[in-house]
Amino acid sequence: MLILKPKIDFTVTVEAEITPELATKEIREIENLKIYYGNNVVKLNDLFEIKKEGDDKRLILDGDFSRVKWIGYGMTDGEIIIKGNVGTHCGSNMKGGRIVIEGDADDWLGAEMKGGEIIVKGNAANLVGCAYYGNLVGMTNGKIFIEGNAGSYIGEKMNGGEIEIKGNAGDFIGTEMKGGSITIHGSCGFVGGDMKGGEIKIKGEFELVPTFKLTEDGWVGDVNVKGEGKIKKF
């Protein structure tokens, strides 16, 4: 297990694609890991206090990581616990393992996720489980669970996997979705634009695009793309 604690207040953001794998390395290698501090390439221990306790694949990020980007990028297994807020692109392209964020997450949480689990105790921002610009497919597998609220652009171009938001969300839920499921316990804005498949369940208020057919099973559409996506209130 590896515990990292920021040494200073960062004047610009830090970019560090660290995964639980790091916890299995030798301490020297960990300390010398190259990360980006703006355009400066620095060592991990220049910016973080590092404590290694055994070899299991666990990363504890102790403190405010809201200015640290790309945590958990592409990780395949193990666990990351962030005892605070985390920066953008957390869990991007994740394939397996688990990330727990005790504070808030920033934009692009779980972007293009392929497996694994992300739990946010606080709020998430925009572009949750989405595809990067120009890519055709977003999240394909895995689970994202948000206790608080989320922003706009949720699960766009999703092909599989699950997103669940206990609080409210913004606009553009499941735009161009093809598969998978999104569940929102609170209210949200525009839902279902160009939806082809998959399922969205909403408990609170929402604004459906005017291109869905009402059936006994809920709303089916988007007719503009001959879609068979389902939207239900629960």
């Binding site: 990067y132 610009y133 120009g134 890519n135």
Partner: protein
Amino acid sequence: MHMLHIKNGIVIDPKNKISKEKMDIFVKNGKIVSEDEIKKDECKVIDATNKLVVAGGVDMHAHIAGSKINTGRTMRPEEMRVVRTIANKFRATVGRVLLTSPAIGYEYIKMGYTSAFEAAQPPIGALHTHEELDSIPMVDKAALPVFGNWHFVLKFVQENNLEKLKTFIAWALERTKGFGVKVVNPGGVEAWMYGGNVKNLDDQVPSFNVTPREIILSLIKATEELNLNHSVHIHCNNLGIPGNYQTTIETIKLAKGFENDKRQVLHVTHVQFNAYAGDSWRNVSSGVEEIAKTVNAMDNVTIDVGQPIFGHATAMTGDAPFQFTLHKLLGAKWSNKDSEVEGGAGIVPLVYLPKNPVHALQWAIGLELGLLVDSNKVVVTTDYPNGGPFTEYPYIMTMLMSKKMREAELQKVSPYVQKASSLPSIDTEKTLDEIVHMTRSLPARILGLPNKGHLGIGADADIAIYNFNPLEVDPSNDFEIIYRSLKSAMYTIKDGKILAKDGEIVQEHWGKTYWVDATGKVDLESISNEIEEYFGYYSVEVRNYGVEEEWIKRPERIVI
């Protein structure tokens, strides 16, 4: 006074009939000179012992600069995210198949190509095209403005006024600082302004009393009477439609009766996209056999291949109606740009998959063209980025030289190719000399550039040295070695300077921009009324239209 001595290279220089001879090449002040013009002890020496030495490659048709390409980049960050080199002494370069301007220059030069020609320039956007060309380092370049749907052209053809058409061509080349007469789906793009297209050479172009046949013939006549250095360069009607090979043959035959002792009178481009037989995507097959027969029997027509390379590509042409058809077929994103009363363009992303029967057939057709058409009449291109990257020219070159390599590749593609194309049964293996001709001396001759594509005295010192011995290596069997060597030149020399070494950039350099000035052969005043009248339909003033030489970094004017 910069001098080079390239020692003991094995030279292939088809224009000067040199075939695998061990000889020295001397360079002074950016030109190839004879030995008595240099002082051996003051030369920088390059030891090319037992290595292939040829002229730098000439890419006569690629989409490398202008609003089409830039809109392609803008709409495809998925392409631009691939990082090639990180900024250090030289620029960062990014791009998968679409590339940034610095990347284009660096990638050509690393491969041993030293000249590249922008295939289609929208005339009103000429200044943008030149800005982008001037952001491409290393290579010499030029751009071809597009004429086949320009209202001035349609008007003069309709009036049967050859003199005014000639005058207009000279005026247009001067204003756009363009290189030659490019024609794209003549009449068809004007028809697209009404939602349509043209289907055969005798369809009437909406609002005009002209047909594609008349447009093409008039432009050939005018180009020949002006005796421009490059011939009419045509992207045929009906591109991308099964059965279109017949339109291509009819178009090629329009060259009959014209004669030019220096070059072809018609260059037909990316013929692969216009070589389909059958009548639907279900029964499409290769129409190359008849096209090759026709081209081989004529001595005044040349073509280039337009080879698809498996992987990503972006379809971008001035053939706006075709691009819309492709958008509907693929369900992919689509950009379009109708341009004043001049023409249009369209952009659609694509992928060529080896197991897809149609893509595999297109791939086979490109290779058939390279194999069946006389080596003196066919140039290697991918119609970059329509067929794929220009960095895979070495793939095409080695495939044309090796039946064994083709057999291995045929195993990986859709079996549809076995019945729809004759590629599996073609035994032809082009020689290295022929391949050098098809990538150097032939395109230079087609373009009318006497100082390019060869290593004779007086030629520009654009030289590529490759790390293999053509006397020992057997293209039929050693295709891996040749492919790797051709991808990354041992030395690329441009204007006598070493710009790349073993696939690394050594020095940055800015090439020349060629343009053709035929104004001396016409009386520009004779069309001033028509220009003034028609500019009422433009959205800019005629005084602000066009590019001045001072705005181009290194303009090189070719006076006709």
